[in-house]
Symmetry: C2
């Protein structure tokens, strides 16, 4: 017969836990002194304690453990419990992984935005852009509604999105209402049959690359106009011809968590260009 402290050392369960298990009817002492209330545990309780410890390590609830112990003879019953527990654990693992991945995405996004911010000189630049695949929703109306388009793409392509959202502008000039634009997300190309395609009103295709004039705009979207003036002045001065649509990449905007300070929003204006006259008419 062990007293509770000795039994605690033997089983590795704390005294508190043993008392709790007693109260819960999970692990009853072999004998309880009626006068003193002292609990005494026998040798055979060690085995039961071991079982409980094992099942707890598998994160069984005490309720389940009690049931399992009660139907110790019935093998298939135990298997049922094991199956259910496995199911639960797999779901928990998946949920945690999903969250971890979401966090990773947010962190990387934030990091890249930071990086871009530090590297930026906020001058008009020229660079080459690689082609990449996008999912896009063409919309007509006000720019403010583009969120719906992004949401739609997010819902359908959640996993596959691999870059920052962008807007394609099909209008030649700024329009307050009745604008013609397309909300897009870069996506990973499925290696399977991924021809240019469309699901309902979401178009999936490759955006062409090429020579590109860019300008990083810092500040709220209302002030984009000024940056457009700058970039257009540059393009005109060089005598380039713009290939429609122009692109607006949202490097850092109202984040998923914080709306952020609009003064720190970063937007890259991209215009694919060719030398004037070099284009087949």
């Amino acid at each position: 017969m062990f007293r509770i402290g000795e039994f605690s050392k033997v089983t590795g369960l704390t005294v508190k836990t043993l008392r709790f298990y007693h109260e819960q009817g999970l692990l009853l002492p072999t004998y309880v002194d009626e006068q003193t209330g002292y609990r005494y545990y026998g040798e055979n309780q060690v085995e039961t304690a071991r079982i409980i410890t094992q099942l707890r390590a598998l994160e069984f609830s005490l309720e389940d453990i009690k049931n399992v112990l009660a139907h110790q003879e019935d093998d298939s019953d135990l298997l049922d419990y094991l199956e259910r527990q496995r199911q639960m654990m797999q779901e928990k693992a998946q949920a945690s992984r999903r969250i971890a991945r979401a966090l990773t995405k947010i962190i990387n996004h934030e990091r890249e935005a930071h990086q871009t911010m530090n590297d930026a000189n906020f001058n008009v630049e020229e660079k080459a852009i690689e082609p990449f695949w996008i999912a896009g929703v063409r919309m007509k109306g006000r720019y403010g509604d583009c969120g719906k388009g992004f949401a739609k793409i997010g819902k359908r392509f959640g996993r596959r999105i691999c870059g920052k959202p962008l807007l394609l502008h099909y209008d030649a000039e700024y329009k307050e209402t009745d604008a013609d634009f397309e909300a897009c997300m870069p996506i990973q190309r499925k290696n399977s049959s991924d021809q240019a395609n469309s699901y309902e009103d979401v178009s999936v295709r490759e955006l062409p690359g090429g020579r590109c004039v860019t300008l990083l705009h810092k500040g709220p979207y209302e002030e984009l106009g000024r940056s457009y003036e700058r970039i257009l002045a540059y393009v005109q001065q060089r005598g380039y011809e713009i290939i429609s649509p122009t692109r607006e990449v949202y490097i850092k905007g109202p984040g998923m968590i914080f709306r952020g300070n609009p003064k720190n929003y970063l937007t890259e204006i991209q215009m694919l260009v060719v030398d004037q006259g070099s284009r087949a008419s």
Copy 2:
């Protein structure tokens, strides 16, 4: 101004939760009527509620959310929190996956034992056995001590174990004490440099396959002797020669969870054999 019920509908948070967040200082109503105690929420609280919801979806604790909200301006602070949260989530995911895998192993083991039990006729049989890799600990002493050997292998090769434990008997006959045996576990062969090898006193090598006489023994280990008599009688009758060591595979023994009923233990005795005289002397 929303009353709490309206605000609840707008934000998707329950009334209970909103009151709780108020109490915790997480989301304060813009105005509280002193007479009636009614809470009134302003438009700008909707945004805060959204942030809280997002962070809760990422399983941030309310404590963390409070801190994040307090230092809303500080970007790097937020990044720290995100990193820590990601770390936590990854750990949780790993823990759950580990448990799920352990459960899968137990379930499969139990299933196979069941299957074996159903298929068994408990007669001596002959079959061909493929070679397979093992980790083994050679021991001298009493069979009862073999658990230590299995434990040692389990500790070192936990992940890689891919089958049921077995014992190799190097003695020609049964010995109570001073027996010479080896506790083994089948392991997955690493594709990397996995020559026959040994780590401390654990030997890693391939067990040969070949023609094999087997008998499934059902019951406690004390009764193994009778089964050995049966199988040896068979071997002698056929005039086979036994290749040492003989093997005892523990199909179903005292499980990780339940000790189980020894009457249902299953042990397969395996003896590699060749026709007499066919062996190079």
